[in-house]
Every structure is written in structure tokens, then in C-alpha cells.
């Protein structure tokens, strides 16, 4: 199986704990694993979601200091990225 298909397979199985772990399991660099995840996101097979507890749950638009959809505080907090299989 190619590295590209393995990336999708690993995310589907839920075995990998993060990008580094995913890269190790597939036998590619972190950079390659990240690019392949993005490839599947573009193809509509995976979702990448910012999981932020720090900012307003409605995003910058609902934050009182939000500025035209951008963070009015000048920065966003460090957030988790959740990569999951996109449901039909």
C-alpha cells in the first residue's frame, strides 16, 4: 500500500496519536505526513478542525475583540488540531 493510502488508513483506524506518530507508522517524514493529510482534506476524505477552548466558540466573528473575522487580540491561542474522517 502506498504512503498516501496508508495515511488515510491510519487516520481511519484511530491508531495514530499525532502527526509524528502517524509519520512514524507510515514511514515518511512529518512534513510528508502533513502534506498527505492535507491532500485527503482537499479530496474531501478527511476533516481538519481547530479545537480551541481559549477563543470564543463562535470564532473571531463572535468575539467582542474580533476584527473582521481575525483575532482582535492579535493572536489566537495554541489550539489542538483534530483530524478525522469526513462523514458522507
Amino acid at each position: 500500500m502506498s504512503a498516501l493510502r496508508q495515511v488515510l488508513d491510519e487516520v481511519r483506524s484511530g491508531r495514530a496519536r499525532g502527526l509524528d506518530d502517524l509519520a512514524r507508522r507510515v514511514g515518511v517524514s512529518r512534513d510528508e505526513a502533513s502534506a498527505m493529510v492535507d491532500h485527503w482534506v482537499r479530496k474531501g476524505r478527511l476533516d481538519v478542525t481547530d479545537l480551541s477552548a481559549a477563543c470564543s466558540s463562535g470564532g473571531c466573528g463572535s468575539c467582542p475583540s474580533g476584527d473582521h473575522g481575525s483575532p482582535g487580540c492579535g493572536t489566537t491561542g495554541p489550539v489542538l488540531l483534530a483530524i478525522s474522517v469526513r462523514q458522507p
Binding site: 502534506a35 463562535g58 487580540c73 495554541p78 483534530a82 474522517v85
Partner: protein, 692 residues
């Protein structure tokens, strides 16, 4: 090729007519526009591309000693298979025969080379001559990646020039290389995709400009004359409607394999660098230590919050009980205010608002500490740890996010469940989020813990939060096994962000936003409920003592008091069957912010002189719980706090729930919350009595 007008600003073009066109192509955020600015300086303008709504910057650039060229900064693109109008424009420009540029400067980010090489491979397929500008070499180096430009040039077969667009370093070299490439253009040799694919491409190439790109596009769409060749590429038995997708995947695999070979040649990795962040994460997100560390951190937050805030709270409370109350009393006396107004202001507003404002320092300190944890990146680790716990009990992986939001306020947490795609998952989360202890409940915990647990107040408050998490997880587990057996496990991969030093400005802003929101919401609720409670407390209930009239009725014989007294016996098994307690819980159903105010108000109306003495609310509460619990005060107070944690948070939450899951499930949720709260409170009191 003549330069067309790339822009439509004032109908003018920044480049001389007839000059060659050079386009900058690259992924978003690779420094492309900074490079464009460095190359063109002020000789540029921005406007929509003719016939498109895509904004493009163009300008004049004189590379080296050569003639001026028209330089176009195309929008950042990840792929020439377009996903957006921006990417569509780049594809059209590189593939359409009558608009192709003389040269592409492919701007590649050395720190994310794979996805950049993927785009480079697609550009190569168009057959346009290419020069590579390599950016972010320093960023790559800081990540332990040494990119060798010469080796990269050898692997790609095109010139590669490292540049630092911000400082202009390498720009002169790039200019010289571009000038040479324009003089003697050489196409970017398309990467081999393997014998089978290369053969298939050769067999369907239409000839002319971008011939290979067009052949690949035909194969990837598996349409027309190329379909037969495409079918020959895929596994026998592949369904007809999956042939195109399978060929597209084969091409992508081949491009990534080529990128991998280029990386092997041109990039040297300085071992598996283990950063301090990696080392910290091994401990903080460890399977065994992650959760205990998270709990210890949160205990520290509540302990520090309650101990630092205690003297500040006393100071604010003393201010209201003393100068503010006395001053308002004097003013009301001076204007000969009616007795009812004096009662409303002194017993209602001053008591309620004073109690609320005394929590402002506590909230501010807690919000500061939480903002520091969030901004440092620790909260993301905490979420990672909690996520694992959620998975263990079978809740959906992403469920922890609305739960964390719920510790601030349940209402946005309910809206936050929309990140879950499965409606059944959203329903489950909507039913358990009210058990997440919001900041309004914190005020009651702190009041009672301060009165009854002294130095252990912080630990008790922390215990309530642990109980809240246990309730969420426990109820989720029960509901999952009783009503939601159909929910399947949703695999999820979480990527931790790097740690960073918290910024003072961000911390201050987050603290102020949350404190302002709390005070704004709470003050409105307090004034409204205090007024309503005062009104109901001033009205005599049917059967009140003779002579009772509006404003002249014993509190327990008022309409509010009698309703509270009627409810109170329900709490007898839990040890707090007193009308003051049930009155606070009744207004707490409307909003938890009102609980402390109502408590102060009911005691104040009863014994105004006593309760307006600083710290007098404590003895009054102690007397009440002693009387109702038969001397088992601690058990009764704990039972009260547990009931307060578990029953319906507020009417706003009910409204939000109704919007998310409908009336039927909302009502079922209220019944469940009241039932769970009562059972737990009774259990806590009865066990407490047995143990004491």
C-alpha cells in the same frame, strides 16, 4: 509573447507593453508576496484579473541588467487541480495556450517541502520554464532540516536560488538566474510517474502547449478517448464510477513518491531532534501521569484563586455592608423615601449586588490563571488528556471541547456541540453538558466553602469540579449504554500545538472579556431577580397572619416564602429542608448567579440589622444548616452543593437546549437533572450522617 494587461486598476499596466511575463507561483504563506514586493518595489498595483473576481498584484521588474519584465504575483495555491477561483486562475494561466507566461518563478518553502514539491511537479507537467526561489531555509534549519539548494537543483533539473524575501538576501542572484532563463529558456523536465503512468500519458498526449498536463487531466477524468487507457491503469474489477478517482490517486501517489525521492537527495535530517517541548509532552500527556497532573494543576488554580481572593472579597463586601449601605440609607432617609423603596434598595439591591461584586476579584484571578494556562498551550494538553478519558467511556472524541467551554458557561457549550456531525452525538452531549460546572455555580461554592470549610475552601471547590467531570463522564457512560447504544466510535487524530510564552496583552484581554461578560450577565440577572424576589416577598401569601399587607409581612409568610416553604420538605432527606435554601434553589433555576443574591436577600429581609454586619451571612447560614441537618452540618452543606451542581443550570440553558434538541428532550433533560441532583444530594447527606 506579449504581456496582456494583468490588472484592471485605472486600466493601466505596471509593465512595459511587449515585455515578457514572469509569474510567481507557490503555496500560501511561503513568502511569495514579500518576494514580489522586494522585486518590484513601488512599481506595482493590485486589481482583479480581467474576467475574474480574483485580486492579483502585478508590477514591473528589471532582473539583472536585462530588460524589464511584467511580474505577476498569483494567489497562493496548493494544487493546479483547482479548489477555488484563485487556484483556477493559476491553472488557466499556466495551461491555456494563449496566456502562458514566459517563465514561472516557483516559490518553494524549504520547511514544508513535500507539499511545495507536489505543486512543483504539477507546474513541471505544464511545460513552462521554471526557476525555483527557495524560502524559509532558516525555518527548515531550526527544525533540523538542512536543504541543499545545489542537490535540489540537480534533482529537479532547474535552477534553485535560496532567498530571504524580507531582507532581500538572494534577490540579486535570483534576478541574474531569471534573466539567463529568459534568454535561454529550458523547460522543467516533468517528473517520471512510473513506467505505466508515463506510458499511458504518452499514448494520450494531444501535443501542443501543456500537452502532458492535458494528457494527465484526461486520464484523471477517465473520460473520452482516454477512458480505455485509464481503465487499463487500475486494478481489474474496479467499478466504472471509481476509475477516475483511482487514476487520480495513482497520479498523486506517484507525485508523492517522486517528492520523497527528491527529499532523500536534497534534504539532510539532523537526527530525530527531541525538543524540550517533546520532553514536557511525554510527561504532561502521558497515559499514567497526564490526568493526575491536570487535576493537580486545576487544584492549584482553585487553591490560589480562593486564598488570594479571600481578603479582596472581604474588602469589597465590607465596602457594601458599610459605607455603601450607610450612604444609601442616609440618602433614602434624606429624601424621605417610602419604606418599600428602602427595603428594595437596602435588603435587595445592596445585598445582592454587593455579594456579586465581592466575587469579581475571585473571578479575575481565576480567569488570569486559566488564560495563562490557555495561552501557554497547556490547556491543549489538558484537552488531549481529557479526550482520552472521554474515549475510554465511549463518548465521541471531540466532545471534550464543548465541555471545556461549558466550565465558563453552558450556553455556548451547547452551541459548541454543533462541531459533532452525528445528531445522536449532539443529543447525548446536550443532555450531559448541564452537569458541567459553570462559573456562576462557582460563586456559590466559594461562598459556602469559605463559611464551612475555612482553609480547605480551595480543595472543596476543586472537589466540586472533579465531581462535575465525574458526573459528565458517568452520565455519558450511562446514557450511552441505555439510550445511545447505536453510537459508533469516531476515530480522531489530535495534533498538539507548540508551547509558547503567554503574552501579557492576550492574558489581560481574555481576562477582561470574561470578567466583563460575567459581570454584565450577572448584574442584569441580579437586579431582575432581586426585584422579583422582593416583590414576591412583600406580598402576603393566602393564610398569612392577620394584619399582613404589602411590605409588612413576615418573610416566611410572604408569597415567595410560602412557595419556598412548600418546596422545602422535598429536601428533608438531603438535610437542608429550610425555606431559605429552597428559595435560593428556586431562583437558581432561573440563573445560578441569583443564588448568592437571593440567599443574602432572604436573610437580610429577615434580620436586616444582623446581616448588614460584615460576615453576618456566615453565622446565619450555619444556624440554618445546623437546624435542618440535626447537627450534621458538613454533610448537609455538601449535599446542598452537590444538588446545586447537578440540577438545571439556568433558564437560558434550557432555552438553548430547546433550540438544539427540541422541547421533548429538553424536558426529559430537566427531569433527569433534577432526579440525579436529588438522588446524589440525599446519598451524600445520608452517607455523611452514617460516617460522622
Amino acid at each position: 509573447m506579449l504581456l496582456e494587461k494583468p490588472c484592471c486598476v485605472d486600466g493601466e499596466d505596471a509593465a512595459p507593453v511587449g515585455a515578457p511575463r514572469v509569474v510567481l507561483v507557490g503555496n500560501p504563506n511561503v513568502g511569495k508576496s514579500t518576494l514580489f514586493n522586494a522585486l518590484t518595489g513601488a512599481r506595482q498595483h493590485v486589481g482583479n484579473w480581467p474576467g475574474k473576481t480574483v485580486a492579483v498584484a502585478s508590477g514591473e521588474w528589471r532582473p539583472g541588467a536585462g530588460p524589464a519584465v511584467g511580474l505577476v504575483d498569483l494567489p497562493g495555491t496548493y494544487s493546479l487541480v483547482p479548489d477555488s477561483p484563485d487556484e483556477e486562475l493559476t491553472r488557466e494561466l499556466l495551461v491555456d495556450a494563449d496566456r502562458r507566461p514566459e517563465l514561472v518563478v516557483a516559490v518553494l518553502d524549504a520547511s514544508n517541502l513535500t507539499r511545495n514539491l507536489y505543486l512543483a511537479a504539477q507546474i513541471a507537467d505544464t511545460g513552462v520554464p521554471v526557476v525555483v526561489a527557495l524560502t524559509m531555509v532558516d525555518v527548515a534549519r531550526s527544525r533540523g532540516l538542512d536543504v541543499d539548494p545545489d542537490a535540489l537543483a540537480g534533482a529537479l533539473g532547474v535552477p534553485v536560488v535560496p532567498v530571504v524575501p524580507r531582507s532581500g538576501q538572494g534577490v540579486d542572484v535570483l534576478a541574474g538566474v531569471v534573466a539567463s532563463a529568459l534568454t535561454a529558456p529550458a523547460p522543467f523536465a516533468a517528473p517520471s510517474l512510473g513506467a505505466a503512468l508515463d506510458g499511458a500519458v504518452a499514448s494520450v498526449e494531444p501535443g501542443g502547449p501543456a500537452s502532458r498536463w492535458r494528457a494527465l487531466a484526461a486520464l484523471e477524468s477517465a473520460d473520452g478517448p482516454a477512458r480505455e487507457v485509464a481503465v487499463g491503469l487500475v486494478e481489474p474489477g474496479t467499478p466504472d464510477d471509481e476509475v477516475a478517482e483511482e487514476v487520480e490517486l495513482l497520479v498523486a501517489e506517484a507525485r508523492y513518491a517522486w517528492a520523497h525521492r527528491v527529499l532523500e537527495t536534497a534534504v539532510r535530517r539532523r537526527g530525530d531532534r527531541v525538543t524540550w517541548s517533546d520532553r514536557a509532552d511525554r510527561v504532561l500527556t502521558s497515559r499514567w501521569f497526564g490526568l493526575p497532573i491536570f487535576l493537580a494543576v486545576m487544584w492549584g488554580v482553585f487553591e490560589a484563586t480562593t486564598s488570594i481572593a479571600a481578603p479582596l472579597q472581604d474588602a469589597v463586601q465590607n465596602l457594601f455592608d458599610g459605607p455603601v449601605s450607610d450612604g444609601l440609607g442616609w440618602v433614602l432617609g434624606a429624601v424621605s423615601a417610602p419604606e418599600w423603596l428602602d427595603g428594595l434598595v437596602q435588603d435587595g439591591l445592596v445585598s445582592g449586588v454587593g455579594q456579586l461584586l465581592s466575587f469579581a476579584p475571585l473571578m479575575a484571578i481565576m480567569f488570569v490563571l486559566l488564560a495563562v494556562l490557555e495561552d501557554s498551550g497547556y490547556m491543549a494538553r489538558a484537552a488531549f488528556v481529557v479526550d482520552r478519558l472521554m474515549r475510554v467511556v465511549g463518548l465521541p472524541g471531540k466532545a471534550f471541547l464543548p465541555i471545556i467551554v461549558g466550565f465558563g458557561c453552558n450556553v455556548p457549550a451547547l452551541a459548541g456541540t454543533r462541531i459533532l456531525r452525528n445528531p445522536r452525538q449532539r443529543l447525548l452531549m446536550n443532555l450531559i453538558i448541564p452537569f458541567v460546572s459553570c462559573s456562576a455555580r462557582l460563586t456559590v461554592y466559594v461562598l459556602l466553602a469559605g463559611i464551612f470549610f475555612g482553609n480547605q475552601a480551595g480543595t472543596m471547590v476543586f472537589g466540586m469540579y472533579v465531581l462535575s467531570i465525574a458526573l459528565v463522564v458517568g452520565m455519558g457512560w450511562v446514557l450511552r449504554r441505555v439510550l445511545f447504544r447505536d453510537l459508533a466510535h469516531e476515530p480522531l487524530l489530535l495534533e498538539l500545538p507548540p508551547y509558547r510564552r503567554p503574552a501579557l496583552r492576550v492574558t489581560a484581554m481574555q481576562t477582561w472579556q470574561k470578567l466583563r461578560a460575567f459581570l454584565r450577565t450577572a448584574s442584569g440577572i441580579i437586579v431582575a431577580t432581586v426585584t422579583v424576589v422582593w416583590l414576591l416577598s412583600s406580598l402576603a401569601a393566602p393564610g398569612a397572619a392577620a394584619g399582613s399587607s404589602f411590605g409588612h409581612v413576615a418573610p416566611e409568610e410572604s408569597l415567595f416564602g410560602s412557595v419556598s416553604r412548600a418546596v422545602a420538605p422535598v429536601f428533608a432527606p438531603a438535610g437542608f429542608d429550610d425555606w431559605h435554601a429552597s428559595a435560593a434553589l428556586i431562583t437558581g433555576f432561573v440563573a445560578k448567579e441569583a443564588v448568592v443574591a437571593t440567599t443574602a436577600q432572604t436573610y437580610s429581609a429577615e434580620e436586616p440589622a444582623d446581616v448588614h454586619q460584615a460576615g453576618a451571612l456566615g453565622p446565619a447560614l450555619r444556624d440554618t444548616f445546623t437546624a435542618t441537618s440535626g447537627g450534621h452540618v458538613v454533610a448537609a452543606v455538601l449535599a446542598f452543593m452537590v444538588f446545586l451542581l447537578a440540577y438545571t443550570p439556568c433558564m437560558t440553558t434550557v432555552a438553548a437546549q430547546r433550540q438544539e434538541i427540541g422541547t421533548r428532550w429538553t424536558l426529559a433533560g430537566i427531569v433527569m437533572q433534577l432526579g440525579v441532583a436529588w438522588v446524589l444530594a440525599v446519598a451524600v447527606f445520608q452517607v455523611g450522617v452514617l460516617l460522622s
